[in-house]
Symmetry: C2
């Protein structure tokens, strides 16, 4: 068996926040964290789905303040370390300082794939605070390989120890993952991570492609709990990587038990590939566009799928929500 | 776009019978069949989950007699053709003759991967009746490549026009699929098919591997409805194959609508990767062993996963259910 050559990072308690409508309780966090710790997970993430400071009317109010959740998670761990996500503009430096006081040992600073430059100060602060510091390139499918390499180099220059390729929309296919991870492997010195979503039923295959191309950090969530169609399913990933001859350092039965005895019992709905999540993966549009798209579809009497496909073609990004209504109107007019 | 180079065969109304506890109604069949027909699916399968004649105390009684379901499906189709599954020993030749009278145009004669020889007469009958006739090698992960080739050649010699590699337990990984399909491509003249299950979250990647290695028949089911963790999800497959540049001949929105507006509404439970289905994919044991294994685990106070993993190592096959209790007892004794 190959020696443990990567970190399997569980994001149930952060990406899962989206699927839980940000309603995690202290007890859910405590039980899941204890299970992850006992199963041998190195790092797991706890934050609002949109990262530190995400609790707001715009991104959804958390039921329990996230610092309390981070503290509860850190409290029960003997070996696992708690990571937090920070999207500059949503979270601020003070949030990170507070998270460290609550017990966080890793920060992942996340930006759109073309905007790594907004993360310089937050990366520097992570290092200053003694955290394992990660740069997280979201919506990585939207940029060509060279752009991803350029942005990863920026992250590295700011002090990131790991750079992630993040398939936020679940759009990527294994060949795209292989190309991007392999290019990073050749171009940067720091470690490389991959975070997948399952909108096209390819999260597991993408994850294996990432590992085979040289990624040493990979994300998963228990029972796939996460945004859209959910993430690469952590306990399944452990089984698949074992079958491929990797030593994950994670106990398969114990990680299955956390998934099936704890997480499955508090999930609000199963993580299926539904109509909306499939079309988002197909068009490469992030899930935050969905509610507006549905409203626009109704207003203009058009198929929401046509709007999403057109938004994907236009490479619309967060902040361009006005575009949704323009697109819907154009589709309606074109039909006349 | 590449021209349509394969048949996408939908098994919702046959493999899905397992997940529905064989309780399909005429109306469910009619609505789904009409949707499949309108979406442009070439063939879809209607039978008891264990094929013609499967309705029994041993395999589960069907709510509605399958000939009635086959007739209802054939009745509403303008272009799609109805396939039936036949496992020699469960179904008999008379069942096939009746199915043809009810409107079936294809038969898939299924045997364990090492037992193609029991299918000779049924394959011959299929041809005689003018059906598109397929040989279906179940549990294909249990035999090495050479054996699969040997058995496929038998099927071909009996008159099969297509031979399937069937990953009944959801155990296979893409490399295994590629090797087996590529070897068949080199060794036999008839067409090659692939049928996947999602126990390791690899059904879609396996399907793509099969197509890339030369398979021209691929199976899927709507919303993944099927045994274990379900099948390759048909509507997602259409999206992925389009993204890869194949012309599937299937209308993406229409197939999504059948999945989400019809099938999702009558499913008894979502198709998730649970503890049991994961461990079956991990160990390569077919789902029919599960109930006995759970009973044996309870009787001997051992973990059902240990039993399944050991059964997989022993390459247990259907009919060896007694072995389950022996294995459970040995695990219990070894622990003392």
């Amino acid at each position: 068996m190959k020696s443990r050559s990567f970190e399997l990072l569980d994001v149930t308690l952060r990406d899962g926040s989206h699927a839980m409508k940000h309603a995690f309780t202290v007890e859910q966090i405590r039980q899941t964290a204890r299970g992850l710790d006992q199963a041998g997970i190195g790092y797991f993430e706890v934050s609002h789905g949109d990262g530190l400071g995400g609790s707001s009317l715009q991104y959804g109010l958390s039921k329990v303040q996230e610092l309390q959740l981070i503290e509860a998670a850190a409290d029960v761990c003997e070996n696992s370390k708690v990571s937090v996500l920070l999207i500059p503009g949503i979270g601020i430096k003070e949030d990170l300082q507070d998270a460290v006081k609550a017990g966080a040992k890793m920060v992942r600073v996340a930006t759109h794939v073309t905007e790594a430059d907004v993360a310089a100060q937050h990366i520097a602060l992570g290092r200053e605070l003694g955290l394992k510091t990660v740069g997280f390139l979201m919506m990585a499918h939207m940029a060509p390989v060279e752009k991803v390499v350029e942005q990863a180099k920026l992250f590295e220059s700011y002090g990131a120890e790991v750079v992630y390729v993040t398939d936020s929309a679940g759009y990527m296919l294994p060949q795209d993952v292989t190309e991007k991870i392999a290019a990073l492997k050749q171009s940067i010195g720091c470690e490389i991570g991959f975070h997948g979503h399952n909108n096209l039923s390819m999260a597991m295959a993408n994850t294996v492609a990432a590992v085979e191309a040289g990624a040493t950090y990979i994300d998963g969530s228990l029972r796939a709990l996460g945004a859209g169609s959910g993430n690469t399913q952590t306990e399944v990933m452990v089984a698949v990587l074992e079958r491929l001859g990797f030593n994950t350092g994670v106990d398969l039965y114990k990680i299955m038990d956390v998934a099936n005895e704890i997480v499955a019992k508090f999930m609000q709905r199963p993580q299926e590939i539904t109509g909306s999540s499939l079309i988002m993966g197909y068009s490469g549009v992030y899930s935050s566009f969905l509610l507006h798209t549905q409203a626009a579809a109704q207003k203009f009497g058009v198929d929401e799928r046509d709007i999403l496909v057109e938004l994907g073609r236009l490479k619309a990004v967060g902040g361009q929500e006005d575009l949704i209504y323009d697109v819907a109107q154009q589709i309606a007019l074109a039909r006349v």
